[in-house]
Symmetry: C2
Subunit: 200 residues, 2 copies
């Protein structure tokens, strides 16, 4: 059975929970408190030298890091990752968009506002994160005009990856009501069979 090292309240980890539940696949979850240094211990750094969750571990001990790489690996051969080469390329485009243009603003604003004290120096980063994050949300909003899903005609791992931190963007101070196509898409994701909510 595969093992996921993850933190339930992390959107990057939640992506894997959501996909695995929708694949109806069994897995072992090992909770790692990334918010309190548990990914920086010598024991954990042997598992993932980059000190992050989530991490996938196979029965034979092989390990894979990076949430969106794990999504691709687990979704291979399932309806959540298209076979068509162009649709796969578009899926990857949105996964890289998520990790480069979206998560570093939308997730980080949420982290600072939820986890750090009101007088922490990083609170000063929030206005710039909200501005850049809103640009990423605007790209998503425009893409969803006339489309049900991010890639092709069906729900897949691009939707899962983008859903993880978009649905809780309000925690970071984003006004999702300004993005009606995103709100409608979030509701479609939530209505998918086997949808599991994130543990906040």
């Amino acid at each position: 059975m595969i093992t996921i090292y993850g933190m339930r309240a992390s959107g990057n980890c939640y992506k894997l929970q959501l996909l695995l539940d929708q694949l109806d696949r069994e897995y072992r979850w090992v909770e790692v408190d990334s918010a309190h240094g548990a990914t920086r211990t010598p024991e954990y750094l042997v598992k993932n030298p980059n000190g992050q969750v989530p991490l996938l571990e196979l029965d034979d001990g092989r390990r894979l890091a990076e949430s969106d790489a794990i999504l691709c690996y687990l979704a291979e051969g399932s309806p959540f990752l298209p076979d068509d080469s162009w649709l796969r390329a578009q899926t990857l485009q949105w996964l890289f968009f998520e990790q480069y243009s979206h998560e570093p603003c939308v997730a980080v604003a949420r982290f600072i506002r939820r986890r750090l004290p009101h007088d922490h120096p990083r609170q000063a980063d929030v206005p710039a994160l909200l501005q850049r994050g809103a640009q990423a949300l605007a790209v998503m909003e425009r893409h969803l005009v006339g489309r049900g899903w991010f890639v092709g005609e069906r729900y897949g791992i691009a939707d899962i990856a983008l859903y993880a931190y978009t649905h809780c963007a309000g925690d970071g101070g984003f006004e999702l009501a300004a993005f009606p196509n995103i709100c409608a898409w979030l509701a479609r994701v939530q209505a998918q069979p086997g949808h599991t909510p994130m543990q906040h």
Copy 2:
């Protein structure tokens, strides 16, 4: 023939030049001066709503953004992207590492030091970028112990993606001499057939 919209001095764009030259594939290059706002014009935003280079355009007008997604698409079926599912997953792991943990520090430090005035407020970001970038380089250095390449037994797109901003990390203030395995790997990459240097 495919078209690449890119800026020659950008590592993210250079990745595609390097792969296409090594694939011996013909392409049209349209230079877009991202450093002076050319990716933010209304005309360009129609092509890539996220306002970035590089961008791949096919003959039929279809477009693909995100440098590492384009690498995967172009390398499909070539020796630069393995067929084996685990090796592909590891390739993606390193591509996401590059875009999340490496490029935002190593490339951004270079951008600030080369392109912005000495008294620009973002110069204050450089020390933190050097610290975080050195952590990413340390992860690479450790991975290369006893290994010739990032994934499997051969040169591939994980090496190309990581080479792009690592080989010019000195421009941003990194001391590559502190990473002997990286230096040896850079020399191996440069010795590959069809290697083209980046235009600085």
